[in-house]
Amino acid sequence: MAPIIEFRDVTKVFPGPQGEIRAVDGVSLAVEKGEIFGVIGYSGAGKSTLVRLINGLERVTSGQLLVDGDDVAALSERQLEVKRRDIGMIFQQFNLFSSRTVAGNVAFPLKVAGWPKADRDRRIAELLDFVGLLDRAHSYPDQLSGGQKQRVGIARALAAQPKILLADESTSALDPQTTQDVLRLLKKVNDELGVTIVVITHELEVVRSIADRVAVLEGGRVAEQGSVFDIFTNPRADVTQRFVSTVVHDRPRGAVLDRLQRTHRGRIVTATVTDGARLGATLASAGELGVTFEIVYGGIGTLQDQSFGSLTLALDGAEADVDALVGRLRAITPIEEAR
């Protein structure tokens, strides 16, 4: 099946005081129908521009951008206006209409799409129920908390039953608890309504929570892309490694490592854990080699329903025996030696 969104060598150039700025620079990537696709990057990496190219809020300078069958780079503003009805968008600062009630905000895209009043009212109730704000229909945005505002934002974005939802730093202005609530809601939107979601964020935690695949953006280019599991377990680009190290704290470094080496006999090695059973079986063979092992550091969680983490072990025994055990471990998983 053809991807629902496909960037083909897309570039976006802004004129600037010191010459032109290439905000998006030769990006090619594909978002499959029904998935949650993350785009992560530091501020200034071009992610906000990238997402705005999809619904034509920013126009493509060169390249092709296919969105559900149309090359949006080639559409006129009028054609884009129609196209945007199929693409919802939510924002970091929510961007609700302060002059309209919650129901009024959700009604706006429905009026744009020409829904009759009775259908609008039914749809508004349905959406507010979906996001859990049915009792706030007549409140104004100023009377809501941040999390509630984003729920209204999501209801408004989904109002006209779009196929795609663009989320631009949609949780960056929220506290951790509210962030989790909103992410759960986005996951529900994806699961229950089958809406394809593009999540723009600078927080890897967001990608880890809900995305299926991710592209890492740096300087307007895609530094790396792949499944979230691959990006986490095997980050290749420097920028990806920096991101991953901010959320994965299961490897001992610096002073912690020094202390482990002082207080434990033998070699300190860190094993990446993606398959706990195989690692356990291999370690069980330590006894027959005459090596004792002690788990001294580490953590294991799950990522996309797979185990993911690392264990740091102190291996004590004759040098040749320890070498043999390390060799067996290396055969099943990446091993990092502390020296």
Partner: protein
């Protein structure tokens, strides 16, 4: 002070009273008609300035340049001078340059340009993210301009129009001195020219009351709009 305010004259209710009421009526007539006509034209001009400026919804350098120049030319002209310049237009439209109705022409003309800047300033303060959110729903620019812009800026706009109301009262008093009638003419004819300061001061008190009332109503309305 007492030398400047001789006890010359008195406010005689039986004589001055009905004339004051009539003058107040003329002022209210001029001011409300001006607020309506100038307020509406100024709103259109202000929205046009805001939407055609660089980065605006209907950004258009040429149109913005012309409108901006037009406002910059007419707005600084002192009202007294403007009134004279406009006189031929007034006569062509109303048939005379005298009286309250005729005064509405130059008053509305001046108000249009003043209001346009106030509208423009308040629209600029709208969060661009809100406009972006509206565009993202697929709304046409025309729909955004006609249904979203003014409601989003309504609170500050009400305060802006209250300010304009007071300015129009001021201009109408001046207009009154050039055969326009109203409170300005009353204070001039029955007060100042006859050295009757009681009449001048009573007129001042009425104007202060009028302005206070307008400001109070304006504040209250904008607060109500903003509190939601």
């Amino acid at each position: 002070m007492s030398a400047l305010l001789p006890a010359a004259g008195e406010f005689e209710w039986s004589f001055h009273g009905p004339k004051l009421v009539e003058a107040l009526g003329e002022t209210l007539y001029m001011v409300s008609a001006t607020l309506l006509i100038g307020g509406l034209l100024g709103l259109v001009l202000g929205v046009a300035l805001y939407t055609t400026r660089r980065g605006g919804l209907l950004a258009n350098r040429g149109v913005f340049g012309v409108l901006n120049l037009l406002v910059n030319i007419f707005r600084p002209i002192p009202f007294l001078i403007l009134l004279m310049i406009i006189a031929p237009v007034t006569v062509a439209m109303i048939g005379t340059r005298l009286g309250s109705t005729a005064m509405i022409v130059p008053l509305s003309f001046a108000a249009t340009f003043g209001v346009s800047r106030i509208v423009e300033q308040n629209l600029v303060a709208i969060d661009p993210g809100v406009i972006e959110a509206a565009r993202a729903t697929g709304a046409t620019r025309w729909r955004i301009v006609t249904t979203l812009l003014v409601p989003e800026a309504l609170g500050p706009l009400i305060l802006g129009y209250t300010f304009v109301f007071v300015a129009i009262v001021d201009m109408s008093a001046l207009a009154g001195t050039l055969d326009g009638g109203g409170l300005g003419a009353f204070a001039l004819d029955y007060g100042y020219k006859r050295w009757n300061f009681a009449v001048v001061w009573i007129t001042v008190i009425v104007i202060i009351g009028l302005v206070q009332l307008a400001q109070t109503l304006g504040n209250r309305a904008s607060r109500r709009v903003l509190r939601r």
